[in-house]
Amino acid sequence: MNLTKLNSLLLACCFPLFLGAQEAGFQPISDISSVTRSLVKHASATNTLQSNFVQEKHLNMLEEVLTSHGQFFFKKENNVRWQYLDPIKYTILIHQGKFTIDNDGKVSEFNTDGNPMFREINKMIITAIRGDFVGNAEFAPVYFEGKTQMMARLVPVVAQVKSMIESIDIYFDKVTMQVVKVVFIEPGGDFTSIRFEDIQVNKEIPDSRFELTNGK
C-alpha cells in the first residue's frame, strides 16, 4: 500500500471523529433528488446573507486550535464581504467583478484569472458558503443526514483543487436549509472549520457594504 492510499485510509478512519463534534449518526441519503431540489430552491430564494463566523484551524503539528472571528456578507449575484476581525484584520471583497483584499490597511486588487491558486480558493469558499454547488462539475457531492442537520461532502474533481483539498463538508440545518458550518479537509488531515452564527437571510444589505470606503 503506498503512502497516499495509507493516508486516505487513515483519514477515512479518523473522519467520524470530526463528525462526532458536529452531530453523531450521519447516514447516507438515498433520495438525493429531493435534497438537491431543496438546495436549489433555497439558493434561488436567498438574495442576501449575513452572519458572524468562527474559524478554527486544526493543524496536526499543533495541539492548540488557531481561532479567528469575523463577519460574512453576501448579496446576489456575486457580492461578498468576508471580513476577519480577530486576531488579524483581513477583508476579502468581491464586488462588480473586482476582487479586493484589505490586509490590515494594505489594499490590493487581484486578478483571479492570473492567479490560479487564488481563483480556486475563492471559488471553493464561495461555493461552500452559498451552498450553491448543485450541478457544479468541479465537485462530486455525497449527501448525509443527521437528526437536525444534513451534510454534503464535496470531493474535488479538478486535480489542482484536489491537491489542496481532500473534501469540503457543508452542514445544513434541515429545516431552514441554511449552511451552518463548513469544514475544509486537506490532504494529510489538517482541517479548517468555519461555523456561522447569528445568520440573517434576505435582510437588506447596501452595496456600500461591499466597498472598502464604507464599514471598514
Binding site: L62, P87, P116, I165, P187, I194
Partner: protein, 210 residues
C-alpha cells in the same frame, strides 16, 4: 608614467580595503570572557509562536500566518492562509536546519527552487551560531553589539547581537557561489523575536508576531 583614471580608482579601492573593518566600527575582541552571551534567536525555553506573515515570491505576495513550534529534535514550521488553507509545512532538525524536510507544499508552490529558498531562509533562522577556533568575534566601539562570524561548508555566517541578552539583531549568510540571505530581527518578547524581516534574492518575508 601615466595613470589612467580607472587604474586610479582601482588603486584607491585596494587601499581602502584594509580599512573596511574600521569603517564598520567593529574591532576584534581580545578575550570575550564568561559574561558574553551566546547569539540567540529562539530562547532555550521557546515553545511556539504565531506570526502574521507577508511572503513575496518573485513579485507575487501571499499572506497568512506562520506557526513555529519547538519539538524535541528541531522546529516545525507551517504557513496557513487567512482563510485557513495550508501553504507549506517544514521540519528543521536541530543542529542541521538546512537539511529540512518539506512535509507538505501546496501544489502550485511545489517548485524545487522555491523550497530550497524557504529552507535556506528558515534554516538560517533556526541555525545556532558556532563558537569554535574558527569563529571570529568583534565588538563595536560602544560595546553594545557583537559581530560573530563563523564558516560552514561554503558559507559565511554573520550574527550581530547584544552581548548581554544574546538577542540577535541581524543574521546573514553569504555563500561563495550563491544568493545572500539577510534577516533582521527586533522587538524580542522573552523567548522569540517580535519582528522578522527576511531578504533573499527575489524572496522577501515580513513576519510580525501575533
Amino acid at each position: 608614467m601615466k595613470i589612467k583614471l580607472a587604474h586610479l580608482i582601482m588603486l584607491l579601492g585596494l587601499a581602502m580595503l584594509p580599512l573596511s573593518c574600521r569603517f564598520s566600527g567593529f574591532t576584534t575582541m581580545g578575550n570575550p570572557g564568561p559574561k558574553l552571551s551566546k547569539a540567540t534567536v529562539f530562547a532555550p525555553d521557546f515553545l511556539k509562536a504565531l506570526y502574521k506573515t507577508e511572503l513575496t515570491l518573485h513579485g507575487r505576495t501571499i499572506t497568512g500566518i506562520i506557526v513555529i513550534k519547538k519539538v524535541d529534535d528541531g522546529y516545525q514550521m507551517a504557513m496557513v492562509s487567512e482563510v485557513g488553507l495550508k501553504y507549506f509545512e517544514f521540519f528543521f532538525p536541530e543542529g542541521s536546519p538546512f537539511d529540512a524536510q518539506a512535509k507538505y507544499v501546496m501544489a502550485v508552490l511545489d517548485r524545487e527552487p522555491l523550497k530550497e529558498a524557504l529552507i535556506s531562509c528558515f534554516g538560517l533562522l533556526f541555525r545556532e551560531a558556532k563558537y569554535n577556533s574558527q569563529t571570529r568575534l568583534k565588538i563595536n566601539e560602544s560595546k553594545t553589539k557583537v559581530l560573530l562570524i563563523d564558516k560552514e561548508k561554503s558559507s559565511r555566517f554573520s550574527y550581530y547581537y547584544n552581548p548581554i541578552s544574546g538577542e540577535v539583531g541581524q543574521l546573514m549568510q553569504n555563500r561563495f557561489f550563491g544568493t545572500r540571505t539577510s534577516i533582521k530581527l527586533s522587538n524580542y518578547k522573552n523567548d522569540a523575536p517580535g519582528s522578522i524581516l527576511v531578504y533573499r534574492g527575489k524572496i522577501s518575508m515580513n513576519l510580525q508576531r501575533l
